[in-house]
């Protein structure tokens, strides 16, 4: 059970989708849960069917089930509330920064489940998490965090050097915070150049971009 949280537009959904697919490819039963209650129309919904076809149970609203969710949607899908009780792996995609992270408390068992790990996704190209002190201050604001993900990238301009720079800064921040770095996530092409571990020794998770197919 993993919950992905972090700064608005830090890459939470992309990392969560890829993590779910990674686990599904191992033959595991995976539930991917969309917990963005601020902008629920625009997150996983457009690729829900595609992800289902790839063997993942996607827990997200269908447009026809709701109304008025264009903005400031605030209804927690009932099934999502109980997501942590579902059989199989559970990947939670929790949108919208520090305020969004509070959504986790709405889930049954979130406070007590021993298997749940809350992972903060960090991209050093985003100035609010652009430096060591910024990352430390930001992660402390998030509440419960059990590990960091280095998702440092510059969109299409991402280089191996940039990812490695991110790995160094995020790992230094993790040491200060006394947290592990769960992974460095990087586009599959660049991941081949980096190998199974980044320069600091964190595992590399190759990812494919799915979110450009969604609303944003």
């Amino acid at each position: 059970m993993e919950a992905y949280i972090g700064e608005y537009a830090s890459g939470k959904s992309e990392v969560a989708v890829n993590r779910a697919l990674q686990l599904a490819r191992l033959g595991r039963r995976v539930n991917l849960v969309d917990l963005d209650i601020v902008e629920p129309c625009y997150t996983l919904r457009p690729i829900k069917r595609k992800l289902r076809d790839l063997g993942i149970d996607v827990l997200a609203w269908e447009t026809r089930e709701t109304m008025g969710l264009g903005e400031a949607g605030n209804i927690l899908r009932p099934g999502n509330r109980w997501a942590l009780r579902r059989p199989g792996d559970v990947i939670l995609d929790i949108g919208y920064g520090v305020e969004g992270a509070k959504t986790l408390h709405l889930l049954e068992g979130a406070e007590t489940d021993p298997d749940l790990k809350v992972l903060a996704v960090i991209n050093i190209a985003r100035p609010v998490t652009g430096s060591l002190p910024d990352i430390i201050a930001y992660v402390r604001e998030l509440g419960r965090v059990d590990g960091l993900i280095n998702n440092s990238h510059l969109g299409d301009e991402t280089t191996v050097e940039f990812v490695q720079e991110g790995a160094a800064v995020v790992t230094a921040a993790a040491r200060e915070l006394n947290l592990p770095v769960a992974a460095t996530t990087v586009l599959a092409g660049l991941a081949r150049e980096i190998g199974p571990q980044d320069a600091v020794g964190n595992p590399v998770w190759p990812i494919t971009r799915y979110m450009p197919e969604t609303f944003w």
């Binding site: 608005y8 537009a9 625009y42 264009g70 903005e71 400031a72 991209n123 190209a125 985003r126 100035p127 609010v128 652009g130 990238h153 510059l154 969109g155 299409d156 301009e157 609303f215 944003w216």
Partner: protein, 362 residues
Amino acid sequence: MADKPIEGEKRVFMTGNEVVAWAALAAKAEIMYGYPITPQNEIMHYWTRMAPKFGREFLQTEDELSAGFTTAGGVLAGRKAFTATAGPGNTLMQEPMSMAEAMRLPVVVVVQQRGGPSTATVIYSQQEVTMTTMGGNGEGLRVVYSTATHQELFDYTIKAFNTAWKYRFPTFVLGDGYQAKMRESLTIYDPEARGVTLLPAEAYLGKPGTPGVDRPPAQYRNTYNVEEELYEVLQGYFKDYEKMAPEIAEFDAFDTEDADLVVISHGVVSRAAKGAVKELRAAGYKVGYFRPITLRPLPVKELRALGGRTKQFLVAESANGQLARLLKEAAYGCPVEMLPMYKPGVGITTEEVVARVKEIAG
């Protein structure tokens, strides 16, 4: 407290709303007044997160009428003040913006366009062109920059403060929800390190010297006893605006010299138009690309020259001819034929523009 929000230059990846907040910090904006509305909320969110670190301020007002008037008040008090809004908020702000026009107040307003009235869509359209350029019960004495990329959102938000304070007309940065929410890389920078002079704000009232003796009296009127007074004041404003217009009008164009058809678009749609024109040129079509960056004032001289030598304009916009109306006025009397590609409230893709041009070419 940190000294400068941005030291030197930095390549970053962020959403458009966040870009605007950083640009306002970089431009030395002192205070933002605002009221929440999608899709501009994160401008406020990021401003309120960062402002205290750099000694800047924020006031949340009870609505957009108030946000517009307090922005005007901040400017009168000599502060670099701005606000940001969208759709129905932009509608409410037309009253304070009419006041800002009438009093020549350099307010800066960032608009992230959305579709329809307050109960309609919340993300995207280009349906605020008429309102942003000509809204209010005035004469459209304002400046409107229409941006297409995150880099431009940064550059033109900074520029908007300088234009406003140099010419003393309300200045708008016109984006849209796609630009607001989209993630893209750009270079953020300290404008002064690049040699850009940031014009200082100055208080309208309480200047040194005796009014009428050492300096003209500070008489910022928005109340007139007779119609002729308003008429007389406006004549001076029109003269100033006409003088300013060619100095600040901006556009982007390529492949127009020998083009039979020029695709004209603005804002985010111009990204699709640019891709389409490049693709069509490579396929041998005689097409060109023209994009006004200032929608008010338009680059009239260039548009008229283009309208005099090109057979057809294809106007592509996510509105039902709001840009086209402005173009028709600017190019009145030119022999060019103006063809519509209007998709009010929805986006326009490169493929759609390519298909439309091929259809026209037959």
